[in-house]
C-alpha cells in the first residue's frame, strides 16, 4: 500500500480570499501536483489538470443523529480520483463560503473507503480582516469555520488599522485559541504553512501546539462559541476517563465542533492522545513521557453552548 493521500480543506466566508490562496498554492513552484475539488467552476484562473466540480451534498448517516453527516459527493469523487493514483500528490477541497467544515472532515473518519486511501491534513480558513468581526455576529457559518480551523489566514490586513487587526485576532482567539493564525495581504504566505500540516495526526498534536501543555487555564468568551480547556496536574484513571469522554462526545456531540487532549494514565509509559470532530473520536497511546517529565493531563473542547462547569467537574473527577 502506498501512503495515504493528504487532503487539505479550504474554507472561508465569501470574499475572504479563498480563491486567491488556492491560485497561489497551484502556481507556486513546488513541483507537486494537486487534484482540486471546487464548488464553483470557473473561479480558478489557472490551468490545472485535475479540477473537479462538487455539489456539496451533505448526507446524514442513517443513525438519526443531526451531527453525523458526510459529504456524499466527496466520497464519490475520491473514489474516482483513486483510479488515477499517481497522477497527483495531494488533494485540496475548497468549500463554499456558507459551508460547515464538519461534514467534510467527518467524511475522512466515517467512510471506510475514504479513510483507507486519504487522510485529512488540516482545515484552513481564510478570514477577511475587515469584515470578519461583522460576519461573526451575523453568520453562524463564519463562526463555524473559525472554530473548526487548524490554520487561519487573516487576510486583507492592509485594509485595517493595527488596532482593528488586534481586535479581530482577539475575536478569533476567543473562539479558537488553538489554531495557527497568520496575518496576510493577498494571502501571501509560505505554502508550507498551509499544506502538509498533519493537524489530524495524533503524533503531531504535541508538535503542533508547543504551548499546549504549559499553557494555563483558558477562559474566553464569545456569545455562544467557546473553548473550554481543563487540566489535571497528574494522571487520570482510564476506567473513569474513557466512559466520560465517550459519553460527553455522544451526548454533546452536536455542540462540540472539535476536541483534543493529551492525558496520562497510571503505569502507561506513553501519553494517551485523542482528537475528535463532533461525535467521532480518534485516540491512541502516542510518544513516551520523557524520564522525569511531569505527567499531566489536559483536554480542550471547542463548541457551541458548552457547559463549562460540567465539563470541568467531569474531567476533574477522572483524576487517578
Amino acid at each position: 500500500m502506498t501512503d495515504k493521500i493528504p487532503v487539505t480543506v479550504l474554507t472561508g466566508y465569501l470574499g475572504a480570499g479563498k480563491t486567491t490562496l488556492l491560485n497561489r498554492i497551484l502556481t507556486e513552484p513546488h513541483g507537486k501536483k494537486y487534484a482540486v475539488i471546487v464548488n464553483e467552476f470557473g473561479e480558478i484562473g489557472i490551468d490545472n489538470e485535475l479540477v473537479v466540480g462538487a455539489d456539496e451534498e451533505v448526507f446524514e448517516m442513517n443513525n438519526g443523529c443531526i451531527c453525523c453527516t458526510v459529504r456524499g459527493d466527496l466520497i464519490r469523487i475520491l473514489d474516482g480520483l483513486m483510479k488515477r493514483k499517481g497522477k497527483f500528490d495531494a488533494i485540496i477541497v475548497e468549500t463554499t463560503g456558507l459551508a460547515d467544515p464538519a461534514p467534510v472532515a467527518q467524511t475522512f473518519f466515517m467512510d471506510q473507503d475514504v479513510s483507507d486511501t486519504a487522510r485529512l491534513d488540516a482545515v484552513v480558513t481564510v478570514a477577511d480582516a475587515k469584515w470578519l468581526s461583522d460576519r461573526l455576529k451575523d453568520a453562524p457559518e463564519a463562526k463555524n469555520q473559525i472554530a473548526f480551523a487548524d490554520v487561519i489566514i487573516l487576510n486583507k490586513i492592509d485594509l485595517v488599522t493595527p488596532e482593528q487587526l488586534d481586535e479581530v485576532e482577539a475575536r478569533i482567539r476567543a473562539i479558537n485559541p488553538y489554531a495557527k493564525v497568520h496575518r496576510t495581504q493577498n494571502c501571501a504566505i509560505p505554502i508550507a504553512e498551509v499544506l502538509d500540516r498533519k493537524a489530524f495526526d495524533l503524533d503531531r498534536i504535541i508538535e503542533l501546539e508547543p504551548d499546549f501543555l504549559e499553557e494555563g487555564h483558558h477562559h474566553h468568551h464569545d456569545e455562544d462559541m467557546q473553548s473550554v480547556s481543563v487540566a489535571i496536574d497528574g494522571e487520570v484513571d482510564p476506567e473513569k476517563f474513557m466512559p466520560w469522554i465517550s459519553n460527553l462526545t455522544q451526548v454533546e456531540g452536536p455542540n462540540i465542533l472539535r476536541c483534543k487532549g493529551i492525558v496520562a494514565f497510571p503505569n502507561e509509559p506513553k501519553r494517551f492522545v485523542f482528537q475528535g470532530v463532533h461525535m467521532i473520536l480518534d485516540g491512541d497511546v502516542q510518544g513516551e513521557w520523557k524520564p522525569g517529565e511531569k505527567h499531566t493531563s489536559k483536554v480542550v473542547f471547542i463548541g457551541r453552548d458548552l457547559n463549562e462547569k460540567a465539563i470541568r467537574e467531569g474531567f476533574l473527577a477522572c483524576a487517578a
Binding site: 500500500m1 467552476f41 489538470e49 473537479v52 466540480g53 455539489d55 451534498e57 448526507f59 446524514e60 448517516m61 442513517n62 443513525n63 438519526g64 443523529c65 458526510v70 456524499g72 459527493d73 466520497i75 464519490r76 469523487i77 473514489d79 474516482g80 483513486m82 483510479k83 488515477r84 493514483k85 497522477k87 473518519f109 466515517m110 467512510d111 471506510q112 473507503d113 479513510s115 482510564p238 474513557m242 466512559p243 469522554i245 465517550s246 459519553n247 462526545t249 455522544q250 494517551f272 461525535m279 467521532i280 473520536l281 480518534d282 485516540g283 491512541d284
Partner: protein, 371 residues
C-alpha cells in the same frame, strides 16, 4: 470508524442505529475463524490457464465484444485483447475512465472528461455524449440498444433510435440499471431510487428509503430492485405484488459489485470476507432467509461475477486472489493467487462462459480460458 480502538470507543461511534421500521431483517454472521484456512490452500488450480494482459493502469471496467476483451483504464485508455494480441485506444485522452458497460457489441465508457465514449471490437472509438465539466461515473446499457448516463442530478437516456430524454433526480444519481425487459431505468440516489420510463410522459415512480444509495440492480425477473448503501447494507424493494422493503445487512464494508445467477435465483454481492449470495427464488425474495457465504478468506471480496449459464461464481478479492466456486457443493478452484497491491477491480465473463477477464488496481490483468 475509529482508527485505533480503545475501551468505550464503540459506544461513541456506533451509537444505536435508529432505523425506520424494517419488515424483513436478515443478518448473517461470518463463520468462526479457521474456515478461512480451507480456502485457496487446498483449492485445485486453474492458474496455468490464464493469459496475462499488461493493462498498464487501474482497470475500472471490462466488457466483452464477442471474442475481444475490452479493458477500460484509469488513464483513459481502452485496451482490446484478443488471442494474445493487444491494441490500445485513447478513448478518453488525458482523462480517466470511471465506469464502463458492454452489451456484447460495444464497450461504452464514462470518463472524468465528461464524455461518454463507445469502442467497438474493430478498434474504432467515438464520442456518444458529452457533459461539460462533469464526471460521468454511472452509465447503463440495455439489451435493446439503449444507453443511459448521469451527470450530477441529471440522467440522460437515449433509446435505440437515438431519441434522448432527460430526468432530474433530487440528488446526484449514483447508480443506473435498465429493467431486464422494456425501456425502463432504475436510478439510485440519496433517500431512495427512481424508476423511470424515459419515453413515457408519466411521473417516475419513487422508491423511498432514507440514506445514501450507491449502485442499483434489477432482478432478471424484474420483481426486485436492489441497491447498495453507504451504511454497508443492501436495500431491496419488492415491486410485485407490493412495495415490500428488504434490508440485507451485516456487511463490514460497502457492496460495490452485484451479480445475478443466470436463472435469477441468486444475487451474489461483494463487501465481506466471502461472497454473500442472497436467495431470490421465492416471490418473497430473501425475506427471512440467510444468505449463502462462499469463498470465506481473510480478505474482502471486491468483485463477483456469476457464470452466464451455470451456477458457478467467480469471486475476486482485494488481495488479488480469484476463485471459482460451484454453488452446488461450494467447491473451489483457484484462478489467481493473491498478489500484493494488485486487488481485483473489474471482472467479466464472455457471453458463452468460456473465458473470464479480470483487471486489477495496479494495471495487471488477465484472461482465464476454461479448459
Amino acid at each position: 470508524m475509529i482508527r485505533k480502538a480503545y475501551p468505550g470507543a464503540q459506544e461513541v461511534l456506533l451509537h444505536d442505529l435508529a432505523l425506520p421500521f424494517i419488515p424483513a431483517t436478515m443478518l448473517w454472521r461470518t463463520p468462526p475463524e479457521g474456515i478461512a484456512s480451507m480456502s485457496t490452500g487446498t483449492a485445485p488450480s486453474l492458474t496455468q490457464s490464464i493469459a496475462p494482459v499488461a493493462a498498464g493502469a487501474h482497470v475500472t471496467a471490462i466488457g466483452w465484444l464477442k471474442g475481444t476483451a475490452a479493458f477500460g483504464l484509469g488513464d483513459g485508455g481502452v485496451l482490446l485483447a484478443k488471442d494474445g494480441e493487444t491494441h490500445r485506444l485513447e478513448a478518453h485522452p488525458d482523462a480517466g475512465i470511471l465506469v464502463g458497460a458492454s452489451d456484447g457489441e460495444r464497450f461504452v465508457t464514462g470518463g472524468d472528461d465528461g464524455r461518454v465514449a463507445v469502442t467497438g471490437p474493430d478498434g474504432s472509438t467515438r464520442t456518444l455524449a458529452e457533459a461539460k465539466g462533469a464526471w460521468i461515473d454511472s452509465l447503463a446499457l440495455s439489451a435493446g440498444g439503449a444507453f443511459a448516463y448521469a451527470s450530477g442530478k441529471r440522467v440522460f437516456a437515449r433509446d435505440d433510435k437515438g431519441r434522448e430524454k432527460m430526468l432530474e433526480v433530487p440528488s446526484t444519481a449514483r447508480g443506473l440499471a435498465f429493467a431486464p425487459k422494456g425501456y425502463r431505468l432504475a436510478i439510485s440516489h440519496y433517500n431512495g431510487a427512481t424508476l423511470w420510463f424515459p419515453n413515457v410522459e408519466a411521473k417516475p415512480e419513487v422508491l423511498d428509503w432514507k440514506g445514501s444509495h450507491l449502485d442499483v440492480t434489477w432482478s432478471p425477473d424484474a420483481r426486485f430492485v436492489v441497491t447498495s448503501m453507504q451504511e454497508n447494507a443492501l436495500h431491496g424493494w419488492r415491486l410485485i405484488p407490493d412495495k415490500g422493503h428488504m434490508r440485507m445487512s451485516g456487511y463490514p464494508s460497502k457492496t460495490r459489485s452485484f451479480s445475478w445467477s443466470h436463472d435469477g435465483k441468486w444475487l451474489a454481492t461483494s463487501g465481506a470476507e466471502a461472497a454473500i449470495i442472497w436467495p431470490f427464488e421465492s416471490k418473497e425474495g430473501p425475506m427471512g432467509k440467510a444468505p449463502r457465504e462462499c469463498g470465506v478468506r481473510p480478505a474482502k471480496v471486491s468483485r463477483v461475477a456469476f457464470h452466464p449459464n451455470t451456477l458457478v461464481l467467480a469471486v475476486a478479492y482485494e488481495d488479488g486472489c480469484i476463485l471459482l466456486i460451484r454453488l452446488a457443493d461450494a467447491s473451489e478452484l483457484l484462478v489467481r493467487a493473491a498478489v500484493a497491491g494488485s486487488g481485483v477491480t473489474a471482472m467479466a465473463w464472455d457471453k458463452g462462459g468460456k473465458r473470464l477477464a479480470f483487471g486489477c488496481e495496479d494495471g495487471q490483468a488477465g484472461i482465464l480460458t476454461l479448459p
